[in-house]
Symmetry: C4
Subunit: 195 residues, 4 copies
């Protein structure tokens, strides 16, 4: 199995999943003069879109780092990858669900819980993929425990917390994404300054 084509297919799924997230933002059909208010009331859609988009980009970047570290792949890895992509491609659904119920102002806990289930599934799938992929690495790299554990434990935690406070869980979902954007930048800077 050719590594490059598996990467190309994965890139396609990541790119399409990220782009169709926009359909979680619906065009409001309101009466004359009420569009401004309706667009402002849609802020949960914009937030859900942005968090999901950046989360998919973060997973895509890390997916790429894992692929780059391998010199070959096998069939089980190919299907662990497929399972990961399945969890990525489904994200537009919990995103649209969360946007809809935050705007509707009802059942926000359930919607935030469902969103967390989707994110947790992706974190689990990514962890399985990454751990299995370690056998094909070109050189020994110690497992990045900080980065690795963060999402794997925080997503399920935030999911359970959603039942008590959906606001708190949404803050954690957003914080996880910000953390994964900032962590490698900080590390890159530290590595450069220590040279």
């Amino acid at each position: 199995m050719n590594k490059n084509r598996a990467e190309a297919f994965s890139d396609g799924v990541f790119a399409v999943a990220a782009t169709v997230l926009v359909f979680a933002i619906l065009v409001p059909d309101v009466e004359e003069g009420k569009l401004t208010g309706a667009l402002l009331d849609e802020w949960p859609s914009y937030a859900a879109y942005a968090i999901s988009f950046l989360t998919i980009v973060v997973i895509w970047v890390n997916h790429h780092v894992v692929f780059d570290s391998m010199d070959r792949i096998d069939r089980p890895l190919l299907f662990l990858n497929a399972f990961l992509l399945l969890t990525v491609a489904v994200i537009p659904f919990p995103t649209a669900l969360l946007a809809h119920y935050l705007q509707a102002g009802r059942d926000q806990q359930t919607a935030a819980f469902a969103y967390g289930v989707g994110m947790s599934a992706m974190a689990v799938a990514f962890s399985c993929f990454t751990l299995y992929a370690r056998r094909f690495r070109r050189t020994y790299v110690p497992l990045d425990w900080v980065g690795f554990s963060f999402g794997l434990f925080l997503y399920p935690l935030a999911t359970v917390l959603a039942l008590a406070s959906f606001r708190l869980s949404l803050v954690i979902y957003a914080a996880i994404t910000v953390f994964y954007v900032v962590l490698p930048i900080v590390r890159e800077r530290l590595a450069r300054s220590s040279d």
Copy 2:
């Protein structure tokens, strides 16, 4: 005709078709307090999404194996490939149809039959593509009769069975996908242990 660009276009269709499957899962619009129940009732959508997604991945992997075995392609192959992609790209429709009528609890036989027609069409298109492609192989490879016949005969069988029991046909659709995921892993393992 360049093999690589035909592969890139095919990868694009496979990736988009797999990713837009998610639109078979609809955001339920229910009253306060009924979202949890509504989301649980949507299990047929999740199952249909997962089966179709993995089936497209399986076809994509095998498509890649066939392309890899050829040293060139010609115009008839290009259009057999187009016919295969046409059957792949249509899968979101029978998937959404199956999800809708399983949830609605009516006409499940017809929906399962229609889903089977879509899958059978893909199996037939893939078989035509594979058989024709054999003339461009770099080295002689015996036809994989087990893998080859499995889908070609089981999909139409499950389609007809749907009229008697849609549950049985759904189990067979899922089993075919699992079979194609597991078969190459088992073979790879056997090949390695015999080295």
Copy 3:
């Protein structure tokens, strides 16, 4: 401007446009026992999907042949290419329109006319692109007048005929696609037999 990246972007648009055509096929929401009839009544959707899908594949193949013949590209070509892609990406709209009104059994002439306008626009855009691209060819190739003129004149003709008989125009739309699938296969066969 790099030729390869322009090709990759174009391939992406062709692949996505072809794959989202499936949304022209709607899941019918009918009462118990009426699904079989409803699915059979949807034949115009299947036909419109198939014709549009194969037409996009034909344009994609020819687009590739033109790109392959050039050794470099310039900005005007890039925007003629963009104009072509704009006409390709819009095809899901006239396809869904045609499917809807053929099924509804009203205003079929107008729908078939609109479909023809879309196809004619694509044929014009492809002709502009091809003619301009000739200045970057590596070697002299005589213009393929048969293939070239066929779509450029038949699409507008079928579009106008739609106002008299939408059935006739649909037959011509389908025939043009079949012609472009068969023509190069015949030519390839003739070329090989004359070697």
Copy 4:
């Protein structure tokens, strides 16, 4: 981080975003004999589709020029790129919004303002991306002040003007796109004639 894979992912997002713009054009569901009128009344949808499509192509071309000028990338650039893609992928929403309210004949100012906000966000994201990318250029290239400032100042200007006259702002949105299509063609021609 590999430059090529970041480009491939970006190309995917650009291509998908441009192609799903077509869903801003809705199939009108009208009574017998009223389809022709309904299709003509949809001109704002066609215009919005064309302007957004060409704008995405323009950004894609310039994105490519920036990527080509760099010999490597780092993590901050990767996330500035992600932010740019986030603003590109959202464009189908303001496009559909603009099309809907221009056709509805109400709240056009608000819709044109929202469209301008989307375009301005993209211009700002592109500027941040371009300015940061300058540190990785292979050779010194003076900043293209004309091209650079044009969108960055005209988009916000047209956005504010939308509140006074949506027609004027729409003309400016279209003019910016035309400007970016024509500018490099003129420059290429000047460069060639001065050789």
